[in-house]
């Protein structure tokens, strides 16, 4: 009886290389893949800082408000539409980010102030005001408008939006995590912020 393969269950002892190579190769592929993903750029700073200067300071050095009208409407996650409404910088921010980046150099956050288009979603509108450093890095986000016609909306947004502000500032991007319970706001928030970031040089 000819057998061109070893019988079931009887394998020759594998060489060391045969045992280790698949693990090494797959680990390399895995690490490579993970590093290609969008990362949290700020590393692991944590949300510890409770900064004192939350709002766009009226006495701050002159700011330019860039009109985001020029931004073409973009495709958005479910049920969110962007209305490119320019909002004057005079509108009082409703919710402020309690974090300013790089507290060691507080003068850094004094670049352009940009209002986002209004992101419309099923519970209302979210509009942001962003500020950039002179090096064009996102350094402050405040919320100009958010849905406040219902008690639940107010409750959820009062809770979640500051966290989004913090995360956006920490990561200098719109790649922020959704806070449980505030996913729609998150989608609109990300859309508004991304629109601003896209409009920046």
């Amino acid at each position: 009886m000819s057998q061109n393969r070893p019988p079931i269950g009887r394998q020759s002892k594998p060489t060391f290389a045969r045992q280790v190579m698949p693990a090494v190769a797959l680990t390399a592929v895995g690490v490579g893949f993970v590093s290609m993903l969008d990362g949290a750029t700020s590393g692991s700073v944590g949300l510890t800082a409770v900064a004192t200067n939350p709002v766009v300071d009226p006495n701050a050095p002159t700011t330019t408000v860039t009109d985001p009208n020029t931004t073409a409407p973009i495709a958005l996650p479910t049920n969110t539409t962007l209305a490119p409404t320019p909002v004057p910088a005079a509108v009082a921010p409703v919710i402020a980010a309690p974090v300013t980046v790089a507290p060691a150099n507080p003068g850094a956050c004094n670049g352009d102030v940009v209002a986002s288009p209004s992101a419309q979603f099923q519970y209302g509108v979210i509009q942001l005001q962003t500020q950039f450093t002179t090096a064009n890095v996102l350094c402050n986000v405040t919320v100009l408008q958010f849905p406040n016609d219902r008690r639940t909306s107010v409750q959820i947004n009062n809770y979640a939006l500051p966290i989004y502000n913090q995360e956006a500032v920490q990561r200098h991007s719109a790649k922020i995590r959704a806070v449980s319970g505030a996913t729609y706001s998150w989608q609109a928030y990300v859309a508004a912020l991304q629109a601003v970031l896209d409009s920046r040089p």
């Binding site: 057998q3 394998q11 045969r18 893949f33």
Partner: protein, 455 residues
Amino acid sequence: MPQRTSRMPIRKLRSPGTSLIRDTDVGAVIGFLTLVVVGMWWHHGGMIGFGNSVVLRMTALDQITGLLCSEAGLLGLILVTRTPLLERKYGLDRLLNWHRLLGVAMSLFMILHIVFSVWAWSTPSGVLNAVKSLTGGESYMALTAVGTLIVFLVTLSSLKWFRNQLSYEMWYFIHLTVYVGLAMSFSHQIVLGSDFATDKLARWFWVGLHVVIISWIIWSRWGSLVRASMRPLRVASVTHEAQGVTSVVLQGSHLQQHRAQAGQFYLLRQVVRGRWWRANPFSLSSVPTTAGLRFTIKARGEASEAMTEICVGTKVIAEGPYGVCTPDAVGDKKALLVAGGVGIGPIVSYLEHLKPSSEPIVLYRAHSDKEVSHLEEIEALVKERNGRVHTLIGPRAKLKVADPFSPNVLLKLIPDLASRVVMVAGPESMVKAVQRGSKAAGVPSENIHSERAWW
């Protein structure tokens, strides 16, 4: 023994051969998937703010438990492809057992994922509102909630206690709905899972992984069924062996190309109205040859009873062979073969395959004389190989010793036990007793082989 029916010379079927896969490869794949899943979560900032607030902590935990839940599910699905790569290495029974364990792991991660999610969601607005959003408020969560319920019920139905309460048909159809449940729950991972909703590369990787594994299952399972259906076998003879025990010989011209080995089993499907859709496992009870495959079947349940009443000429679709417990394990050593009840089937096939140098000793345990089958055949085979047969017949209470497989009893009967390869087939309790006894008598555990006794 199978009768010669064709003019072709009768020969043993070729062995299916072993898999190229190694334990380390399996470890590497599991490690890779875990690395990617945990790495993705970490790289996306899963741990940012972990220590700062309950919500962020719970969000982090609900994300990672959700991802691990999916990972366990995907690994479990790879096992049901029954890919020969894994089957020829570990055997179908072990794959299915791991599948069950992964199912349990998946459910545990799922429960944790739900607990953490509700906890995280409930911080601003209370548990009730959290549950409300998680079962309908958030996009796709209504779908996910139903899907989760289905997956949970499927896992529950496969726990031993519930499984025993259900008929096979009922269990089988409940089990199939798991695909619906998984598809329904998949939606929320992509739409709400912050690892996938914002990262295109991660999303495509995740969707791709699911698509590949599901296609693999369809390809592998349907492919195996289609191949088997294209080469159906027919019942050539049905022999009454003992009370409730029948042997059935299947033949077909396709057996020439077939590969199988003594000790393996097949999933047999009678092509008869009302039965064609279900396949049940049966062990070979003789060395498979081109003249036919013999199965010894005991009527223990509805399915095996139907098999013992099968008519000559019935078309049977045989998927397989499966199983890795074969007499090749004996090699050049001597053998001890232990059979319990209908476990005698595979033992006969082992015996037939063994070389004379193996001087096999057969222990045959049965509850009554009426159940004993193939005894003359065994005696003849053993005689050719300078071995001997011991029978242990009678209800447990009537045996002279409390445990016939205790090391003392075994050693008294077989002084050279420690140098033998032990192969057991029979009910689980007996298999365990033999494993325990022979280990205590000095048989190294790599020389003890057992496979679950099929019908």
